[in-house]
Amino acid sequence: MIYQDSKTLLAVRDLHATVNGIEILKGMDLTVKSGEVHAIMGPNGSGKSTFAKVLAGHPAYEVSGGEVRFEGNNLLELKPEARARAGVFLGFQYPIEIPGVANSQFLRLAYNTVQAGRGKDELDPLEFDDFVREKMKLLEMNPDFLDRSVNEGFSGGEKKRNEILQMALLEPKLAILDETDSGLDIDALRIVAGGVNQLANKDNAIVLVTHYQRLLNYIVPDYVHVMESGRIVKTGGKELALELEARGYDWVGAEAKANARVST
């Protein structure tokens, strides 16, 4: 939701990034204020997931230009773990499996590390168990999730729920959800979206990276951005998503090129 007195959480200016020497982001601009929900859409290979990973600090990507400020501070100089502690959360498109490590152990370590980084109290295993079970109800998760190895043998829907559970535990200021809807059946989509909606408030913001408008029926965005070739080429309200669904992406690119010609 758009609030009048909200403050700027994320300010991305002319961001360029490369992977293996190939430039993927070519002048990305985005401003996100607290309380807002943004959707970033666009065709395959337009740079959506790269943008999400660059914000989180994935080591395979190199920032070659531009700046990113998070609550006014230079985000790019922070290590990935420091970004997480500062309140940047990435919901992974493909959550990583960690065999042998119990989910409960992993969740508690993440929770306590982030709490400690924010100068807040840590929880012992028993306290944490109560706390996490409460959060799991939000996502209608079976408690046996806690004893299984992190994401190992999870279905696509279970993995995505586990991501949103982590979001619920870590209470980020900025949650970037990368293709959270992919691989979900309609019931799982409803549950995951319901969880995200309950976590959204006026002090945090959500950036949804998605291919399809389907998710946006459940999590209604304030802004819809279309990415192409490594930057945002069009921004609109939630109705833009419906238009994209009906007409595809090609016209946006053509329009952007036409505009570019007019302006030069």
């Binding site: 773990e81 959550p95 152990q105 508690r108 370590l109």
Partner: protein, 478 residues
């Protein structure tokens, strides 16, 4: 590999110091004279000298095994010293007579030689350069009939027991290094748990190599009579030398009807430097015989040291319903090579065995699991379950699994599972994105990987093992 990972797996060796102590050293080289000298120094009975000489003559006809997946230059057996003992080597009446330099050495290593020490509750036989220098809690253990002493002492005090069991599990001609050991072994631990006695404390042997050019040939013999049980621990460290030292020990376990032996090792011999210079060649034969019905032998090992490890703690399951277990973590780094595993030989009916092997390779190291499961025609209803997992850290290390399965009884059930995983950038990034740095992430991943083995270790050993792997325990213990 990230720097945090590098630092974590490259922690400097903590036990690399040399103790300055006067030793009684025999001249280098191996011949019948050397063996006669060792036997004379130890004032041994004639039968033992004969056993040594037979082993030596057999050894001369044998060839060094070539099948392990390890590479090293040919060992010059004439350049090795076969007898080195700290002076004075006359028998000690009490701990107060132990050379203070030795006491300090073991204090530094965290080994409790003082019975009043804080870590009391574990009886220790301390072996320094292949000679037993002290055994704690001997008197207390004797009250319940347990014999726990050096093997040299046992040869004199309990010759009938030693003669009955020595070489009964690993015969003198068993393999190249076992034959060598049988010819030249200098000392080791002897442990005898009489009928029906549950050993009231953990027993342990702590091996320390100190002399640069001396080979290490210990002999351990543990016998549990009917219904007896014992938990045995073994620890090992050595100073840093640029040369390689040969360690060729033999461990024999015998479990009679309903007896239970649990043998745990944390092996931390010097592994050589980051370029592969120096380190111990650990060529060891360990074998347990489940001689009686319902007996059980369980091996747990955490192998982190040695330039080369060549070792297969095995179980011969002769008694009906007997149980053999092997739980292993082998970590190799830099240029270390490990070819380790087990043999489970099922002879009796309804015998069961479990193998859980976890190999972790980092740096340029090479880590192989080699295991044999043999079900004899007599072993009706035998069962085996094997699980062999490998984890790779970085791009230049290797992991191999060589399982050998021979089944000669149609009613047997044998299962084998294997997996290979890798600590990769993506796993570490996932942790980082949840606020957790690389060091803690690796620690948690490795602990998770090894937990099936660590939970088999006695408490203090589990702690030491975890520390050894360069880990910090975070998370819900228990």
């Amino acid at each position: 590999m990230s720097t945090a990972l590098q630092n974590l797996v490259n922690q400097p060796y903590q036990h690399g110091f040399v103790t300055d102590i006067e030793s009684d050293v025999a001249p280098k080289g191996l011949s019948e004279d050397t063996i006669r000298l060792i036997s004379a120094k130890k004032n041994e009975p004639e039968w033992l000298l004969e056993l040594r000489l037979t082993a030596y003559r057999h050894w001369l006809t044998m060839k060094e095994p070539q099948w392990p997946n390890v590479k090293y230059p040919k060992i010059d057996f004439q350049a090795i010293t076969y007898y080195s003992a700290p002076k004075p080597k006359n028998k000690l009446a009490s701990m107060d007579e132990v050379d203070p330099e030795l006491l300090r050495t073991f204090e530094k290593l965290g080994v409790p030689m003082n019975e009043r020490a804080k870590l009391a509750g574990v009886a220790v036989d301390v072996i320094f350069d292949s000679v037993s220098v002290a055994t704690t809690y001997k008197a207390k253990l004797a009250e319940v009939g347990i014999i726990f002493c050096s093997i040299s002492e046992a040869v004199h005090e309990h010759p009938e027991l030693v003669r009955k069991y020595l070489g009964s599990v690993v015969p003198a001609g068993d393999n190249y290094y076992a034959a060598l050991n049988s010819a030249v072994f200098t000392d080791g631990s002897f442990c005898f748990i009489p009928k029906g006695v549950k050993c009231p404390m953990d027993l342990s042997t702590y091996f320390r190599i100190n002399t640069e050019s001396s080979g290490q040939f210990e002999r351990t013999l543990i016998v549990a009579e009917e219904g007896a049980s014992v938990s045995y621990l073994e620890g090992c460290t050595a100073p840093k030398f640029d040369t390689n030292q040969l360690h060729a020990a033999v461990v024999e376990l015998v479990a009679l009807d309903n007896a239970d032996i649990k043998y745990s090792t944390v092996q931390n011999w010097y592994a050589g430097d980051e370029n592969g210079l120096g380190g111990i060649y650990n060529f060891v034969t360990k074998r347990g015989l489940c001689k009686g019905v319902n007996s059980r032998i369980s091996w747990t090992q955490v192998e982190t040291g040695s330039a080369i490890t060549w070792k297969y703690p095995s179980c011969i399951l002769r008694g009906d319903n007997s149980v053999g277990e092997f739980y292993s973590v082998a970590l190799t780094n830099h240029h270390q090579q490990a070819d380790t595993g087990t043999k489970m030989v099922h002879l009796g009916k309804n015998t069961r065995s479990t193998i859980v092997s976890k190999g972790i390779s980092a740096g340029h190291s090479n880590n192989s699991y080699r295991g044999l499961v043999r079900i004899a025609p007599t072993a009706a209803g035998a069962r085996n379950y094997s699980q062999c997992d490998s984890m790779l850290i970085g791009e230049r290390c290797g992991a191999n699994t060589f399982p050998y399965i021979q089944v000669s009884n149609p009613s047997a059930k044998v299962e084998h599972e294997a997996s290979t995983s890798k600590i990769g950038e993506d796993q570490l990034f996932y942790f980082a994105q949840r606020g957790v740095g690389a060091e803690e992430a690796v620690s948690m991943i490795i602990n998770g990987f090894c937990k099936d083995v660590f939970q088999q270790l006695p408490m203090e050993f589990a702690v030491e093992a975890t520390k050894l792997l360069g880990l910090k325990l975070e998370g819900s213990v228990g």
